[in-house]
Symmetry: C2
């Protein structure tokens, strides 16, 4: 029997005549973390496979087996262990829509008249989000940011374009290299920030700018429950109280900063992947080639282990944070925002973190020398005197929705 | 080459002529989690072993190899990765003493005139603590509680008695079955609480009572950094804010409740084990036979994985909680304490949680019917009406220093 595995793509031969769970067991794969596909259909873990079958094992999804849909009692195709529930295709789609509706209502994220800009990377989460919002009748356009990560970025762009074309949806595109003169791999090599840091910084900058320039009311990103739980774990392991305070499903607009929302925060990675598959969304399954060793992945692993031993741990962690933890943390971030002298985007410093990073990457000097500072500013480096802390504070602010800047919009760093 | 492994005790034969780390690698053992002993001496991970060697691999300790003591430059025997340091025997003992002195000073735990009651289980942590306190000249007596867990409890008692005898130290003993009519295994079978819950409850009760009856100023328990980090993780995963608020290295005395302190909170499990070994303390290495599947162990595993990838994660988690997290959580526990009508120990209810659990285990009725309550009280069950929440609230209070009651004093549940 031929088995196609992903990340990296490879094929293995294993003996057939066994159940899906036995094959997964032999391959050392946790059935809760993959989707098993045969002839373009999901197969459940109790399904028997024959030697002639060809299957694809795709992370990350759960196939519920011989179970009945909680709602309509039809055969189930997806199991959601933390709810101790399984759903057929139609009812699962409804379940996802309802979770998103609930999220939007709980934080008054946006209304039917609001123009929503969905940050789409080509991955399962952001495309699922766009699909759900269109399905619910919201005015949702997409924004794709070309990061210049070789074939990976090209494939992502094609997937996003095809998605928009098929649905007659509006897609904005920004290419980092064309607009700003650098791509993410170059930035990682030349700047003082890590690749993931500069990628996250660029995303936040471009999204905010596009939302303002094109008159959108709110930016929606595809962060799911697993992302939020992992980020919260990272922030809590260091008790970074300012970051914890700002890790909220909806951040209000501030002077020059668009409102930001995460309508998928109630859905696990498994659910967004199942949704994307069941809705026939062609998404980029491969991971960003630059992301290896990302600490966020370690936190996800830790949460997944705890979840496996005790289903519901992840959602309890994040949702009980929202309920009981968050009220105790108040954002102490009272710094005034004013326009960056270079680009006009909001910043607490003279130049915004993006302009400083960009100048450093491009080897440019930013701004004129001022006062007694004859060296001018070497941007991207902390400045002396009273302002010593402001670039750091501002970076902290720019990162404050998520400590790990790679994880900004369901993008390549997933 | 003969290798003796512990928990469970077993011997394996492996090929010699290799370094310690290679042997550990073959056995799938993380070198940071074990002590490797040959001829009663620690050997480091770069040491070469011969076919004739007999070694013992004892959890949990780190052997630093070919390293020099940070302080005196003598060959090191213990490595503390999160400090990026290694120590010789003498300097390591000094390091442990200093960490304990620092803990005592930071929370003003007790002074040279105070009578300290050390809760000793026979495990590495509580005996190391007693040894350190005696070494630092404090007035420290021991208290051993016999839990009746078969040979395990018997061996623990012998170890504790031998420790006290060798040092001419004072040991109080309480036997749960003799004093209160039940042992822990019986309690686990007969009561409505889990074995670990009733064990923890009994420990807290007996310690507090002994401290009051014998005029001690403070109870000291052997909780180490790993215990505290794992408990904090469990509390934080559920955002149990009241428990988080009370997870402090020193809890002040209250009406009828003795002051409680944890002088080892700055030292990892690895450090307490190394200390006990290097000081020649004979301690019980085996784990409590009733503890399998304990959730606390899962949290420890999760923390250990994160620590392995990023040394210092554990201590950063707990120490940054103390610094930045704890001030945000204020104990909302304002319930009045008054004496239990049965035993006189403090409680928020009519009878204390221990008396209720005990009555349930022994099949007794506790107290007379009162008011309109013709059924009397079936204790250990929530009562109706206005008082419905008080047993729960009180149990919460009794557990509030640690959610997982098994982990109370460096005892069998470790």
């Amino acid at each position: 029997m031929k088995v196609r595995l992903r990340n990296p793509d490879r094929e293995v031969e294993v003996a057939g005549g066994r159940r899906v769970r036995e094959v997964l067991g032999e391959l050392g794969i946790d059935p809760d973390t993959v989707l098993v596909i045969r002839d373009r259909e999901l197969v459940t873990r109790e399904e028997r496979l024959s030697d002639e079958d060809e299957i694809e094992i795709r992370p990350v999804i759960s196939g519920g087996a011989r179970m009945r849909c909680r709602r309509c009692k039809a055969p189930a195709v997806v199991e959601v262990r933390r709810h101790n529930a399984a759903f057929c295709r139609g009812c699962f789609v409804r379940h996802v829509h309802e979770q998103v509706k609930r999220a939007i209502a709980a934080y008054d994220m946006f209304g039917p008249e609001d123009r929503v800009l969905v940050a789409v990377s080509g991955g399962k989460d952001s495309l699922a989000l766009w699909d759900v919002l269109l399905g619910l009748g919201y005015l949702a356009d997409g924004l794709y940011l070309g990061l210049g990560i070789g074939g990976y970025s090209e494939r992502s762009r094609e997937v996003v374009r095809a998605f928009a074309r098929d649905r007659g949806a509006t897609l904005l595109e920004v290419d980092l290299a064309q607009e700003y003169g650098f791509d993410v791999p170059t930035a990682g090599r030349k700047g003082s920030r890590s690749t993931c840091a500069v990628c996250g910084l660029s995303k936040r900058y471009v999204f905010n700018r596009a939302a303002r320039d094109h008159g959108y009311d709110v930016i929606a990103t595809g962060h799911n429950l697993d992302d939020e739980a992992a980020t919260l774990l990272g922030n809590t392991l260091r008790w970074q109280t300012e970051y914890i305070a700002r890790q909220f499903p909806a951040l209000p607009a501030e002077e020059g900063l668009a409102r930001k929302v995460k309508p998928l925060y109630r859905l696990s990675e498994l659910e967004t992947a199942a949704y994307a598959f069941l809705r026939g969304i062609d998404y980029v399954v491969e991971e960003c080639p630059l992301v290896a060793g990302n600490t966020q992945l370690r936190y996800k692993e830790a949460m997944n282990r705890l979840e496996a031993a005790s289903p519901g741990t992840k959602s309890q962690f994040f949702l009980s944070y929202l309920e009981r933890g968050a009220p105790l943390f108040s954002a102490e971030d009272t710094a005034e925002l004013h326009p960056c002298e270079r680009c006009g985007q909001p910043t607490t410093a003279r130049f915004c973190a993006f302009c400083r990073a960009r100048a450093q990457i491009l080897g440019e000097r930013l701004g004129e020398p001022r006062g007694g500072d004859e060296q001018g500013e070497r941007l991207g480096e902390p400045r002396g005197g009273d302002e010593r802390t402001s670039p750091d504070r501002e970076l902290a602010r720019s990162l404050s929705e998520e400590v790990l800047p790679a994880e900004i919009y369901g993008g390549p760093a997933r």
